[in-house]
Symmetry: C2
Subunit: 280 residues, 2 copies
């Protein structure tokens, strides 16, 4: 038998910069236990960002001309466009005011910038350097409690053609972010050819039913029992793939070009598809 435990508690809401380390101590006091070797500590990226003072009063943001242009392409807010441009390598307008941004090579709507769970009129960005923050928290736990834990910083994400959000790791330390199963064997001894498991993202998602999204205020979750994914130190890994290697980009390009089967469905759906690829 294998058993994994997820443990959390309510924390007070934060309205200005605060000391994340003291809150982690508070967390362990409130749940009534100490961290152990092999635990993973999952932290809400937004909570961490607020601790770092990474929020803006929206009316203080002065958009550049390029931000105005981007916002116009998309019916969006030029001040959000400005922040998204600052926070990402590249942005493409989507619709309904959403800017699809590439952050460290990964698509994320609005570069993770969010208006919820912060004071009215403010927005929260991602933490400055989530991997560095995760590392500092890992080292704090080692120093304060003498144990080696993994740390994962979480955010929400949306899957194409699917309603609702699941989780993503925007930062991590002391864990295996990805496990490459290529070469390992399946139940029948056959070598697996393509499977990689996004462990960091799985850990970030597994705490979401507990963290919630609205006023649950459980920004820290302890994961106990998955020490096989906890490592001593940091594992550098490239977690993104380029647009050119992405199976969705290639498929959507083919869709827009009319390479779509069964062909009789193409005909039935042609008007909707033509409206999408008009002008290409």
């Amino acid at each position: 038998m294998i058993k994994v435990e997820l443990i959390s508690c309510s924390m007070k809401k934060e309205i200005k910069k605060f000391n994340i380390y003291s809150r982690i101590e508070t967390f362990f006091k409130k749940v009534g236990l100490n961290p152990e070797n092999g635990d993973v500590l999952a932290l809400s990226g937004k909570y961490l960002a607020i601790s770092e003072g990474r929020f803006y009063k929206l009316e203080d943001v002065v958009p550049t001309d390029e931000a105005y242009e981007l916002a116009k392409a998309n019916d969006g807010d030029p001040r959000i466009a400005e922040l998204v441009l600052r926070e990402s390598e590249a942005v493409m307008p989507s619709f309904a005011g959403i800017f699809m941004a590439s952050v460290k090579g990964m698509l994320q709507p609005n570069a993770g910038i969010d208006k919820s769970n912060i004071k009215e009129g403010y927005v929260v960005l991602y933490p400055q350097d989530p991997n560095a923050s995760a590392r500092k928290i890992r080292l704090f736990v080692l120093d304060r409690y003498g144990v080696k834990v993994g740390v994962v910083v979480t955010d929400s994400r949306i899957y194409p053609t699917r309603k609702g959000t699941t989780g993503i790791a925007i930062g991590y330390s002391g864990i295996l972010p990805i496990v490459d199963e290529r070469g390992s064997k399946d139940l029948f001894g056959k070598k697996l050819k393509v499977t990689k498991r996004a462990i960091a993202d799985q850990l970030a998602t597994m705490v979401q039913p507990i963290m919630g999204e609205s006023n649950e205020s459980r920004p820290i979750v302890l994961i106990r029992g998955l020490s096989e994914y906890v490592v001593d130190g940091d594992v550098e890994a490239e977690l993104s793939v380029s647009y050119e290697e992405d199976i969705y980009f290639a498929a959507i390009k083919n869709y827009l070009q009319g390479k779509f089967y069964p062909k009789k469905q193409v005909r039935a759906k042609d008007n909707a598809r033509k409206a999408l690829y008009q002008g290409l």
Copy 2:
């Protein structure tokens, strides 16, 4: 304090149709407990599919002309193309032999068809009707143990521009598949405007670090402590969005059209981009 437990154990590998209900009884005997009201039972979609005999010997599959055409567009196997066409509403070729298929409105590479963890030369499809199977399992648990549990059927998925797989629910019963937070209040009493939480997918992902992908053989995981998402009966919900309403399709279309900021990066990346949208 809130505590959630994930409990599992190894099960024997299966090479032909089997009785899923007797395996569920075996599971509870092996982990040494009985299900309780509010538990969620997560089952590997592949395990369930094998129990239903939903596998094919690849050499027995006779491709149609359209399957040959689809396979050619993509350097793929015509027999896989044939099965993907049978299993999905629509297919677009991606690359490297991957067919991006729409299954119940949701994009899934190769319609979930997989060669791993089955006999050499065979492929496993999705279960025939995963929601119906989930419901039958829920009713079996009610009948056999007298308790109301939720059931979720899991598979792996890939997020755009990201390496590695996380989880998705391909079927469910007795749970809230999605929680719409629109109208609920954040920590500051502001109404949330857009957030929906894909609870079924979160539950499907949270068991993945335990289930594994290769030879762990833990196809059943019990989730205890999340009874807030368990309901008595079935909740019908539309979990997919159309391509026309999807924020990725719109953004990728804009990318292919050159609507991409900051503009100086567009110039630097123009060759790669042009190669992608050639012919559009």
